[in-house]
Amino acid sequence: MSSDNSSPTSRFALARRLAPALALTSAGVALINVLDRPVDLSASGSAGVADIGGSTEAGAGQTVTGATVPAPTTTTVTAATVVTSTVPPVNGATPDTTPVTTPAPASAPAACGAKKSTGSTTDIVDRNRVFGTLVVTAKFASNGELCGVAVNFDVWDRKSVQIEQYALPKLNARAKKAKSANIQGVSGATAVSRAYAASLQAAIDAKPL
């Protein structure tokens, strides 16, 4: 015990006790500045999904409760898309790594897309929550077979953007393979799968003869 100390406390007592807290806070602030390297979502929108003839638009940042979220985002994803695994997975938007075989434009330029039909604009809904809308454009070969799909989606939060960018290439691939709207949903993306199937069915129903 320091009971016989004549001076009440040593001069550096406060500094010594404050030091750990200050060091921790400054290290924290410094680390945040070093670590914070957010990847721009609008860039990832087009990097993750290369599309032919589609327009990839990312809107201006919109403020959602204090957080800047680039939205609304409209992205076109087409089945005529080669997504290679060389595209670095950027910021959550992991592209579908299974390459979707493209109908080689050179060998059969007119084969796919001879006829086109746009489906209904469908809400992406989970229970009562609407995340956005999508609209599917189906492409048909001259024999009337479904041969490609392009999707435009418009969603309101960045999480949905990620899910859409993950799920839509898969759905496109599945639709092309099944040649119908009778496809299996993508797990983790039930709402968009449902909307996709509905819009695609509408597009097929409206197929120009």
Partner: protein, 465 residues
């Protein structure tokens, strides 16, 4: 004492006939149970919101969904426990009056520990939850530490929360000084604020449901602000309106009593059995606060505290001089004379734990017949002993002083049910108040319970650090 050695507190500076007790602390109908119910209800509401906004569906639809659902729910709970802890530490008046500062802070500790555990679970579930959409483990970790917007803030904020929780573990806490721990503890405000944004940008529930989000953001900000300002308002208030040292007197070899008075006393409400947080506004001491029990009924003449030399802050009280300013927060605590009801009081106190006993005895009716058991190494070490004897006699009670070193008492536990019933008549129908070192409090509680004293009739202020 070399410096201004002064009056005996019982004959205070203010004229006796002019002093009257301070207003009693406000009472509240709020009970501990009500607080628990509110907390449980909040958790139920949030869980329901989580389930209804898709959480429940996710659980039952495959692993990757289940991970996400778990990440979301544990995130919500982590945050809720943080908010509960924040609210408890704010020492809001009604809550403090309901359960006392000691229990508020002990509950706060439980909330804090739980928050720490949940945070770990939250992090470890959010990684598998996001791995499928982020391209594997490494990418997920990289995203979570800075590539995803706001996640650098979140990661550092969480690290600060983790440091605070770890430093509060008993073994680690005991190795560092109270103030070092406290200053680090304060960084948790920053940690909590820093980890907020990601809840909105990433949370399944919060990023998607507008109304839920509105309520969440609103109440988070409200709670944070209430806690921060509520807490610091009291601190600034106590510094802006300090009390002044009126008298210092030596009680025993290592205790001094200090009478704190002045105009600002009239703003306080308090009663015997309560304690105050004291900050000496003198050089080298202004940044520390320490809890001390009132050792006399607080009156307009002032608050008396009796301080044992235990370390830096308490030893510095010996150097106090008349006129020094002291910032006082409180009084806090719920062991006021009302706890005794119509029953016979039993006081068990160790060391400087006699202080509240001395104050409470002053407020007992003359037919209350209290029994006072004091534990000390030697009678000369018991502060205010003659005062206590006189007060106890006045209301028909008895005082026993158990002296000797604890080691010498080995085998004869003075607080076993048998020893207690031997000295204390009508033991099982008493209301007991226990104060002193933690070990003594536990020993006494055990003995009292075994002797048939009901749990509600045992009162003690558990230390919270």
């Amino acid at each position: 004492m070399n410096s201004t050695n002064l009056t005996v507190p019982v004959a205070p500076v203010a004229k006796l006939e002019q002093r009257r007790p301070l207003a009693r602390p406000s009472s509240t109908n709020l009970k501990a149970n009500d607080l628990v119910i509110v907390i449980v209800a909040i958790f139920a509401i949030v869980t329901a919101a989580w389930a209804m906004t898709g959480g429940w569906n996710q659980v039952s639809s495959g692993w990757s969904h289940a991970w996400r659902a778990a990440a979301s729910l544990t995130g919500l709970y982590t945050s809720l426990f943080g908010m509960v802890g924040l609210t408890l530490s704010a020492r809001l008046k009604t809550m403090e009056r309901a359960i006392g500062l000691d229990r508020l802070l002990n509950w706060h500790r439980i909330a804090g520990d739980t928050m720490g555990l949940l945070l770990a679970v939250h992090i470890f579930t959010s990684i598998p939850a996001e791995m499928p959409v982020r391209g594997g483990f490494i990418n997920t970790v990289l995203d979570f530490t800075g590539r995803e917007p706001y996640m650098a803030l979140t990661a550092i904020g969480s690290a600060l929360v983790a440091v605070v929780v770890v430093l509060s573990l008993k073994d680690i806490r005991n190795k560092i000084s109270y103030e070092t721990w406290y200053f680090v503890h304060l960084t948790v405000y920053f940690g909590l604020a820093a980890s907020f944004s990601h809840q909105i940008t990433l949370g399944s529930m919060l990023s998607n449901d507008r109304y839920v989000r509105l309520v969440w953001v609103g109440s988070s900000i409200a709670i944070f602000a209430t806690a921060l300002f509520g807490r610091w308002w009291k601190v600034f208030g106590s510094v802006a309106r300090p009390l002044h040292v009126r008298a210092v007197s030596k009680e025993t070899g290592d205790t001094v009593s200090v009478l704190l008075g002045g105009r600002n006393v009239l703003r306080l409400r308090g009663d015997a059995g309560q304690f105050v947080m004291i900050r000496s506004l003198v050089r080298g001491q202004w940044w520390k606060t320490n809890p001390y029990s009132l050792s006399a009924v607080p009156t307009t003449a002032g608050l008396r505290v009796t301080i044992k030399n235990r370390g830096d802050a308490s030893s510095a009280t010996r150097h106090l001089r008349v006129g020094d300013r002291m910032a006082v927060e409180g009084p806090y605590g719920v062991t006021t004379p009302e706890v005794f009801g119509d029953k016979r009081p039993l006081f068990i106190a160790g060391g400087v734990g006699v202080t509240p006993v001395c104050a409470l005895l002053q407020r007992l009716p003359s037919d209350s017949r209290p029994t006072v058991l004091l534990r000390a190494r030697h009678e000369s070490e018991v502060a205010h002993l003659s005062e206590i004897r006189a007060l106890a006699t006045r209301c028909g009670g008895e005082v026993f002083v158990l002296t000797g070193r604890t080691a010498a008492l080995k085998g004869k536990d003075p607080f076993s049910a048998r020893s207690l019933s031997r000295v204390v008549p009508e033991l099982s129908s008493r209301v007991a108040l226990v104060c002193g070192p933690t070990a003594l409090m536990f020993a006494a509680r055990r003995g009292l319970r075994e002797a048939g004293v009901s749990k509600d009739d045992i009162h003690m202020e558990m230390p919270w650090w």
